[in-house]
Symmetry: D2
């Protein structure tokens, strides 16, 4: 069987994860080309991974006919442009989220994908986390009946640098967006309205860049049902990502993965391990599973993409709705919002 | 030591709990009188509890000079009137929540309490639940630092009858009010604004009485910080009351009490007991502890009441704010709200 | 319905528990008489419990014709004599364990019970603990199939006084005996052989009274299967009583009951409550349930006693077998043992 | 820095794990040679792992001067002979457990290691499991004080083939040996006596090869303290490996790792995932960590080996003592036992 030949554009932290995953965990694919504007990122010894081509200009990678599919792991503000070029080069495209911070540019990129009839998958990797996926499977198996409420909690371990935050789009577009996608994914229906609150409870100086470190978002869904998301950029006890989904036949919780399984009993009570420390450790498997899922869609042309451009567009719209709600201190209806754009 | 002589007004389900608790669990008090308009409720053999006086008219009970303190456990719409009379009779008063569904009548009752300089405690019994109290103690011991977020979940096992619901004031005044009080209690600061959503996800016919079975309320607090409350009148897996409180030094969860402690491991995984079934079973101890706390305040005149009239008034205002928010689909500020009344 | 009239012989710690349970938790019974050689124990105000007769000589209690049933809660070395007299007086008998430390005296007492055709129940109260009973019910419902292994752990919070220990019969007869009964109860088959180890790991001075603070007992059962019991007179983290039962279709654990349900997450990990502190708190319900079970057997003459004299005799034989095994450092077969006596 | 050049002898299931771990997880080492009598095992494409030499005769591998260290992963009955040859060839040696089923041959192999002054490490990989190691670290940090009791449970998912069992040495030498090593490791003292029981509760036909599927072993330790091991070749609910260690300052439990972290609440109670399925999945990291530890000892000549030949010899002696105890139905003292051999 011919393996899928991948080119990776952008060899930063996430690009390296994809390179390693394709090389070690996805037998049906291999990385034959990499591109990064920063020559240092591609100067290392990548032979172990059998990378034949190294470019500083991603156009050269796209011009390489042996390349079947590309992974876009560059900074967000370059995604739309690269998708456009890759679609024209007829490559299957895997792009890290979000496509862009602007709905307009996102739509242009998606049009190009449609026009060139190429496959596009977006990296909402949490959907592929084994624990999230287990919950999703149980919902689909009707274990909890019709869903009334989805609750997600995401707390990171430390506030990113202001430099990072300034180009991130803010807490709703950079952080809540993953939870928004997850709520919609679990509920299996579209969001109707968004109400969002945010504050700077950890670092008041975030006001200088008009960003927040804490957010609380409530959603109503078409056909009924609610969701609530709470986000914090920081947590003293470690990375915390949990969910709870309440339906008319039962309730599902997704708990944190713990570092170790011990329980220590002493006069103070019983003590155990905290959550696995950094999101890479927790989601490393998710990255491999999402790419493998992408490969399946390439190999079976009739299999639809699991997380496509529309999913990315809707997640972006929800995040922007949250931003508007927070700014204007009112409930934002997705219908109203969509007319606006 | 002289024991406190109690009179209980209203011998329904809750009145009986108080009678039994005072008789068996509070050595510093005894019930010497009961009053209930329904003669059947007081006709039983109450000698085991050494009740000397039985009345069908509560005024007679209030006229009994041996009675030091009264417990008001009658239907809500009679509370304000009885408080007024009891205050004039100079009795210490323990009244089930809420004082009244109207802010105006509540304020009149509280004025009478102040004018007659009697003690009044309101039955927010959850504050005295051992698990809630443990959480509260740990917060006060600075275990989690400054609080950013309070989350409470309350799900009951079945929807009350429409007859009950019609005079209950609706989900916010009848059910959410306990969570609203709990959020304020845990946060230790006053609520600034309320945003509430509600729906009939279990029983659409509740529209006929303008009530809901599901509610989702978000709060902002003076000085910063958020809370979110989710309520459901029904739950297929049993009575569910949990809390989570996130601060800058850690996080506290209050989990459900379970029926049994077994864990059963088989091919399906591991299975354990569900939550303790009915709120009486879970909160029976709370009722005894709140009354004991009330007795301490009577015996130590300088000890302030733990849950006083102002707490009841504020909880009522928050519940009404939630009702308005839900109706008018907007964030309601407590300041605006207070001007209104 | 006529209530069962109880007489309680011995009003120490356990006698008081039975008095309170019969008075408050068992509507089908009442205590009308008490007897205690120590006049102080019966001089208190017992009117609340409607006790009509108070004696310092238990023979007077047995001579009271209104008394239907007796609870024997005196020191162990008086049990056999009182059972004899109570059987002759044709009373139904509930006796705290053990009947006696000697197999011979135990057999004499049991013969008298048989000869007089009265009912006798022995206070192995753990069998009636709701968590133990849940496990037992699941076993009987074939949830784990055929049992291969029973494991029980019992750790107390502090070493009893030497005065108590000297008349207790030692760790095997005073402490392990409950676990031995529990293993036999759960397995549903008879023990074939016993191998026991013991040591003084907490207090070497126990050698002076030939007792131990730590024991480890392994059992083999007729028809196959094993059990292992570990006992410690002390535990720094609180009272610990757990079980694990492994069968060919699954495994059941009985975990400790915890003081509170909170979980505290901070940099150290997650922390929760320790086990409920003292066995009274944990087993108070068990005492009420076992007496209620006894009452059912009295009221339904054809209903066999749940824990009868033979159960007590076999538990005693197992405990003595353990003592011999430990002393002679060898496996003791119950058959060999039974011939010996 | 020069990397350690490894040769792997035996490329079956375990050999492949070591090959993959050295290649992907241990940057300070590389595999340059493999040897396997079965040509098929080395005919595959191993270039990814940069293996330069492939032999069917392990002597050729030992004769390769570039090889610094060898991993012996052949069938047990060849270990002693290969250790002898490897020691003479002055290679550092990592050998899978056990060295041999005979104490005599084990001693001869160890003598050769001493005479040639080479390093030898034995693959008791469980010691390097992160959860076991956490427990061990906490014990060494005096978290539970002096140890009174170690309990280990190991239950496998299915009974191995009779072919495998016949050359395995039986349940004590093949399975219990790991628990015996673990008890000694955690206790930090030597075993004094062994008492072992065993039966065929799953498969009576194991009698035909004089083996068992279930074992229960109790140990006493020099200086006081006990251990109990329960083993089953099969478990209907999955691979179960837990420990509990009770000391005078507290207690430590090592619980199973679970497949997923969800909790499903419905009318039956709450349900969660079972244990991680196969020991490879659970212990894969352990294999990498033990080899990395071995590499550290090679690179730092003064660093002693973590699990050396004496550890292997003592574990074997304990396992044989258990076998004798079970056969002769008596407690076996390690002293008596050592004289015997």
């Amino acid at each position: 069987m011919k393996r899928i030949n991948f080119g990776i554009i952008g060899l930063g932290r996430i690009g390296i994860i994809h390179l390693s995953n394709i090389s070690n965990r996805i037998p049906e694919a291999q990385v034959i080309a990499v591109a990064d504007a920063n020559e240092q990122n591609i100067s290392g010894n990548l032979t172990a991974q059998q990378v034949k081509y190294k470019f500083t200009d991603f156009h050269q990678l796209l011009a390489t006919t042996e390349v079947d599919a590309v992974v876009i792991a560059t900074p967000t503000n370059t995604h739309a442009e690269i998708i456009l070029a890759a679609a024209q080069a007829k490559k299957a495209i895997f792009c890290e989220r979000p496509i862009d911070l602007s709905i307009e540019k996102t739509k242009i990129a998606l049009k190009s994908v449609r026009d060139n009839n190429v496959k596009l998958m977006i990296g909402f990797n949490r959907r592929f986390n084994p624990n999230c996926y287990k919950i999703y499977s149980m919902i689909n198996a009707q274990k909890i009946g019709r869903i009334h409420l989805v609750k997600t909690t995401s707390r990171e371990t430390s506030i990113p640098s202001k430099k990072y935050l300034e180009s991130s789009g803010g807490i709703f577009l950079d952080m809540s967006i993953q939870d928004l996608d997850m709520c919609r994914f679990m509920m299996g229906r579209e969001v109707e309205s968004v109400f969002a609150l945010a504050d700077r409870l950890w670092d008041p100086s975030l006001a200088s860049i008009s960003d927040y470190d804490t957010a609380l978002v409530t959603l109503t869904f078409e056909g009924g049902g609610f969701a609530v998301i709470d986000n914090s950029r920081k947590s003293d006890y470690g990375f915390d990502h949990r969910m709870e989904i309440f339906g008319d036949k039962g309730m599902l919780e997704m708990q944190n993965e713990l570092v170790e399984t011990h329980r220590y009993h002493n006069r103070e009570g019983v003590q155990g391990s905290g959550p696995v420390d950094f999101f890479n450790e927790r989601y490393i498997l998710s990255y491999a599973r999402e790419l493998r899922d992408f490969c399946s869609s390439i190999l079976s042309p009739n299999r639809p993409i699991s997380v496509g451009g529309t999913d990315a567009l809707i997640a972006l719209e929800m995040a922007i709705a949250a931003k508007i709600s927070c700014h204007e201190k009112r409930q934002v209806h997705m219908s109203e919002f969509r007319l606006k754009h």
